[in-house]
Assembly symmetry: C2
Homo-oligomer: 342 residues x 2
């Protein structure tokens, strides 16, 4: 393929982050485009997706995924188009999704978790609503939170990709939904577009006081994306038999020393509350059913999904950092290239 | 009843405790023995029972029970003997149990939650193994902890009345059981008499390090009686799908300011863990079935119940304080009088 691409621009993990992630934790490199080994396909990446959980993959500790090694391309999901294939089932021109990593070209194979984007699906939806983000919201809310119609559901990170879907699903299931987000613009989107019943601006309001006002009968389900002080404020206001869905704790991901937890865990005793974590990969066998339900709601206009699209592989680290500065509105994506005409 | 008792020695709540409970938070008083109103029976109290949760009843805040009011007799369970009755179902000579409060004589009635001690049952057993203590251990372990045979169960406060029963029930259900208790004597009792597989002495050992050694495959169920640093140490070692039973948090009950919670709640996400509180009164309809099962195990010699018996109504406050100093071994009781011959 003499006229094919020759240079693969990449970002490698350069250092384990200490405290706040910095651009200098990553190294930029121009590598040769990889050889297409038997059983793989060469993919030109079009969009990369960014998620707070990727902060955990940078650390050298056992978790639900192995850590990224120093000198390896930073791990991250993406969608791209097959430009050369020695892999059955992947043809040139196919759109595929998988662990693209922060680079322009990847080698894809079904055994490495890549699969085709269904025909006609907007290319970015597998990176959020129909991907790990939306599935995390769906299973965390429905399976762990188990909301019942008429209950009060609070969602932190409500303008984020996961929180906004969790809250909208709760609204669709008949719950009263209160969001917590940072800044007037985000809060306006949460109530206006995502149609939560209310949204607390943690940057300008006293979260605990507002929760007390907005949830006079207590909080039945809390979908927690942030941990920290917000979790503590919510625990002060839980209703009897409350369920706290531990989805993430972005407020602490960049701490040099772990912050202490909520001082009021004993409220879980008095209120017979349950606090539970989950990993969405455990629901793999039910992904199809969940995507079908989310797609139905999207088609009916009951669900909106928002994207924040930055551009250019050179901006991968700075785009990642937007998450921790609370700068993104909706799913954080990075566009690397336009798809060529089929 | 001219020759009946005339003086009722009592301890009243004198002050809401700030920080550590002190004897001066209670007032000693000699009152007249109460008139036996229609529908009540006069009971001479024989044993009072003490429980860490009573610390919470002294505070002026809403909870699962109303607070004790200043000037009221301090609330507490007891057993006694009916000496005069205007209440159907209670006859002079009957042994009864109920909220006796810290006093020599109480007015009892079924509508106030008093009931007869079954014939032949040792008088103190309704105050622990067959009372709230044993039922808390039983339902917390089985219903919230849901241990499976072969799993590893850790119990803090393992030499205490609740913890020792929780651990023994786990052992009976086929689990490997590790206790945590304070001091060599308590630990020896936990492994020797209660037959836990091991016991960590938190006063002389590094709890986190020992948990790592004793639970190489992680902790499946943690029955938490203490909260605080011990809870944090356990969370570092939970197995996948672990269940944390929040039963109590004695380590924090006397804090002037609430202590921060564990910094590692995020382990509940990675390990898909569940942390859940409960109130034993919610299981009221199943008390009979649980007592029958506990009685069966006691009769078979599979279960031991230990008592720490102090004496004299004048020692009620100092006996209560033994709980927070970790001085009691087994259920803390106070004997007020010997039962007369039937």
């Amino acid at each position: 393929v003499g006229e094919g691409p020759t240079t693969n621009r990449q970002w490698l993990l350069a250092a384990r982050p200490f405290g706040i992630v910095k651009e200098s934790d990553f190294d930029f490199r121009e590598s040769p485009v990889p050889e297409v080994a038997e059983g793989t396909a060469l993919v030109r990446n079009l969009y990369l997706a960014f998620d707070p959980a990727m902060r955990g993959w940078m650390e050298d500790r056992e978790s639900y995924m192995p850590p990224v090694q120093i000198g390896e391309p930073m791990r991250g999901a993406g969608v791209g188009q097959v430009i050369e294939s020695r892999c059955e089932g992947f043809e040139p021109g196919d759109f595929v999704q998988g662990m693209a990593c922060w680079q322009e070209y990847s080698l894809a194979s079904p055994s490495a978790g890549w699969n085709k984007v269904p025909d006609g699906m907007p290319l970015t939806l597998p990176l959020h609503l129909f991907g790990i983000t939306g599935l995390t919201a769906y299973f965390g809310l429905t399976d762990i939170g188990q909301p019942k119609s008429g209950e009060t559901v609070v969602v932190s990170g409500a303008a984020g990709a996961t929180g906004s879907v969790a809250g909208q699903v709760a609204r669709i299931l008949g719950c009263r939904v209160i969001g917590i987000a940072g800044g007037a613009e985000k809060c306006a989107w949460v109530t206006g577009e995502a149609r939560f019943d209310a949204c607390i601006d943690y940057k300008s309001e006293d979260v605990g006081k507002r929760l007390g006002e907005l949830c006079p009968d207590g909080i039945d389900v809390y979908f927690d994306n942030v941990g920290g002080e917000t979790l503590e404020a919510v625990l002060d206001h839980i209703a009897q038999n409350a369920r706290v869905v531990l989805c993430g704790g972005i407020s602490g991901y960049n701490d040099e020393e772990p912050k202490p937890g909520p001082h009021n865990l004993m409220n879980l005793i008095v209120q017979r509350g349950r606090m539970q974590g989950f990993i969405v990969l455990d629901y793999f066998s039910r992904f199809g059913e969940a995507i079908a339900e989310l797609a139905g709601w999207l088609g009916e206009g009951q669900l909106v999904a928002r994207e924040d699209v930055q551009e250019g592989i050179e901006n991968a680290p700075s785009t990642f950092l937007r998450l921790f500065a609370g700068q993104n509105t909706g799913k954080q994506l990075l566009k690397l290239a336009d798809p060529p005409i089929g």
